[in-house]
């Protein structure tokens, strides 16, 4: 039963997206994109509605079921009534992807699934952060009854009761509706976000760069052992990574189909869900607004700026209002806001803290994902072989992704330096996860910038007419 309610949240998210981007229901890249993105959107909406219902009506299962049911039915009805009115998003033209690489991709995906299942079977309650923060909060919400607000008690300040509730909210919702606790809820949520992120990456890189690039990017994400393992450990870093990737990917699609405001509105919604997932998500909201403004002002059409930011703000409104309500009415102060400005200043001028943090970041980048060889070196080699090339039309999306990730890294660095805790311990226990949060979006940027690999010898005829980098131009405005 627990998984059924999670599946219904997913269905609601998929339906909402199908209403916005309707295409026939059949196996297609477009539907892979909707299904992958729909997991995050559905869970984000269901979790937000759960919290708002609890806050406004108390732990009343009838009201809760009615609110969630109305959302589901409305989304499904809208999806069923939507008529396909534009061409489906499809693979961009690119080099053929040989069968043996397809087999390698499928083997990688299967191994990732086995890794996830094995890990989840061994640790069904997840690892440290899962049972000391996320699932603990879900238990308080579900088991607490009228005293559900104990989840935010300062008596358990060590469990970070100020952290937002996307993950605990959806887990507690599934348990409430199913009338029972099951570890299948957190495992299912973790599965959807881990493999949903791969689906979003494959589909968006595939739409923008072709099948070869899309599948290589997806295989690399699923082959990132650290990412799949952290997902299976039920940490919120993977859901946050999903939201960061989804937001930036939507903005990249918006640049491919200019003037289509569905993309930035949806990007605002997913950015808001990032803020509803972890406190770093709030920084991401700021990062995305700054990055988008900088990218458009530097490389894009400046007259679009207000419209773009307005659309983003429109999408942000609901989740950000939920976060604000939670932070202002329920959450106790967090580590950073509770730190005295004087102490922050002392940390800021402590050169040793900067070195510790920078060293931690560099180590985390080279050790990222537990690859047998450092993935940063392998990607550098790959980039040397295929070369980067940024066409004029790709500069706005690339600049958006890179600037947003740059602001995130700078922000994370600043938080480490300013935080009151022992910086050594803080860096050792979390910096690798911060890098994993931005890893899916970093892969998006990498494969947007990299040329497609030539996977087979070109036929002689083809050599004469150099293939266009974006042979999908004729299709560009089709979804508009």
């Amino acid at each position: 039963m627990t998984l059924l309610f999670l599946a219904l949240a997913w269905l609601a998210g998929f339906s909402l997206l199908r209403f916005l981007f309707p295409v026939p229901l059949r196996v297609s890249l477009h539907n892979l994109w909707l299904l992958s993105l729909g997991a995050g959107v559905g869970i984000g909406m269901a979790s937000s509605l759960y919290f708002l219902t609890m806050a406004l009506a108390g732990p009343n299962i009838v009201v809760l079921a009615a609110v969630e049911g109305i959302f589901l039915v409305a989304a499904v009805v809208l999806a069923l009534r939507a008529k396909p009115r534009a061409a489906a998003l499809d693979w961009a033209n690119g080099p053929e992807f040989p069968w043996y690489l397809t087999a390698l991709f499928l083997a990688g995906a299967a191994l990732a699934a086995i890794l996830f299942v094995t890990h989840s079977a061994a640790k069904p309650h997840g690892e440290w952060d899962a049972w000391s923060i996320w699932n603990l909060r879900a238990r308080f919400l579900y088991r607490g009854g009228e005293l559900w607000k104990n989840a935010f008690s300062t008596q358990i300040a060590w469990s970070h009761p100020d952290y937002p509730l996307l993950v605990p909210g959806i887990i507690a919702l599934c348990w409430t509706l199913a009338h029972g606790e099951s570890t299948l809820a957190p495992i299912g949520v973790a599965f959807l976000f881990t493999f949903g992120a791969a689906g979003v990456l494959i589909s968006v890189v595939g739409i923008l760069r072709g099948k070869a690039q899309g599948l290589i990017a997806g295989a690399l994400l699923l082959g990132t052992v650290g990412f799949v393992a952290i997902g299976a450990m039920q940490y919120a870093d993977v859901p946050l990574g999903f939201a960061i990737l989804a937001t930036l990917a939507l903005l990249c699609l918006e640049d491919r189909y200019p003037g289509d405001l569905r993309f930035p509105i949806l990007a605002g919604l997913t950015a808001g869900f990032a803020a509803w997932t972890k406190n770093e998500g709030l920084m991401f909201v700021l990062a995305i607004l700054v990055a988008r403004a900088v990218a458009i002002l530097r490389y894009g059409n400046r007259t679009n700026l207000r419209r773009q930011l307005g659309a983003l703000a429109g999408g942000l409104a609901f989740p950000l209002a939920t976060v604000a309500f939670f932070k202002l009415r329920f959450a106790p102060p967090n580590d950073l806001t509770a730190t005295a400005p004087r102490e922050m200043l002392t940390h800021l001028v402590d050169f040793g803290r900067w070195i510790t943090v920078l060293e931690g970041f560099v180590k985390a980048v080279f050790g990222l994902g537990d690859f047998l060889l450092p993935i940063a070196v392998l990607l550098a080699l790959y980039a040397y072989l295929v070369r980067f090339h940024s066409a004029a039309e790709d500069r706005v999306p690339l600049a958006t992704v890179l600037a947003a990730l740059g602001v995130m890294v700078a922000g994370d660095l600043a938080v480490y330096v300013l935080l009151p805790n022992d910086v050594n311990w803080q860096v050792t226990t979390s910096v690798d996860r911060l890098v994993l949060q931005i890893w899916p979006a970093a892969l998006l940027a990498f494969f947007l910038a990299a040329n497609a690999p030539q996977l087979a010898a070109k036929p002689k005829v083809a050599e004469k007419s150099k293939p266009a980098r974006h042979p999908v131009k004729s299709h560009r405005r089709a979804a508009g």
Binding site: A122, W131, A219, D370, Y382
Partner: protein, 126 residues
């Protein structure tokens, strides 16, 4: 090459996990704590607030993990690290703890739930 390295890395870690699976780690982790606190859990309500103490050496990382696991297991009761709450959970590793351990913490045992889990009252409550 990228795909091959990714594949090999995943396979390598899977071997590690399979090895871990085969080890016996029943004494620590959520399931063992759920069992350990089974009887005590039956008595908790959302209004319960417990103090907590253990016989782990100070600054032992295991102590923190065990405290977190106790809180996770006993939620929605709140568990604090204080020994001044009206009721304190003593989480000891011996099935029949040494009475000196209670005396050293100025605690009076109230109910023994077995497995070294004893509910106590502080001798000088705040």
């Amino acid at each position: 090459m990228l795909l091959a390295v990714a594949l090999a890395s995943t396979f390598w870690v899977l071997l590690d996990i399979a090895g871990e699976f085969s080890k016996n780690s029943a004494s620590f982790g959520v399931p063992s704590y759920e069992n350990r606190f089974t009887e005590l859990r039956k008595t908790v309500t959302p209004r319960s607030v417990f103090g907590y103490t253990s016989d782990n050496p100070p600054n032992d990382p295991v102590d923190q993990a065990e405290f977190y696991l106790a809180q996770y297991t006993l939620a929605p009761a709140i568990v604090t690290t204080s020994v001044q709450e009206p009721l304190v959970i003593a989480n000891f590793h011996a099935a029949n703890p040494d009475p000196a351990l209670f005396q050293a913490r100025r605690l009076t045992p109230v109910q023994n739930f077995g497995n070294g889990v004893v509910l106590c009252r502080p001798q000088n409550p705040r």
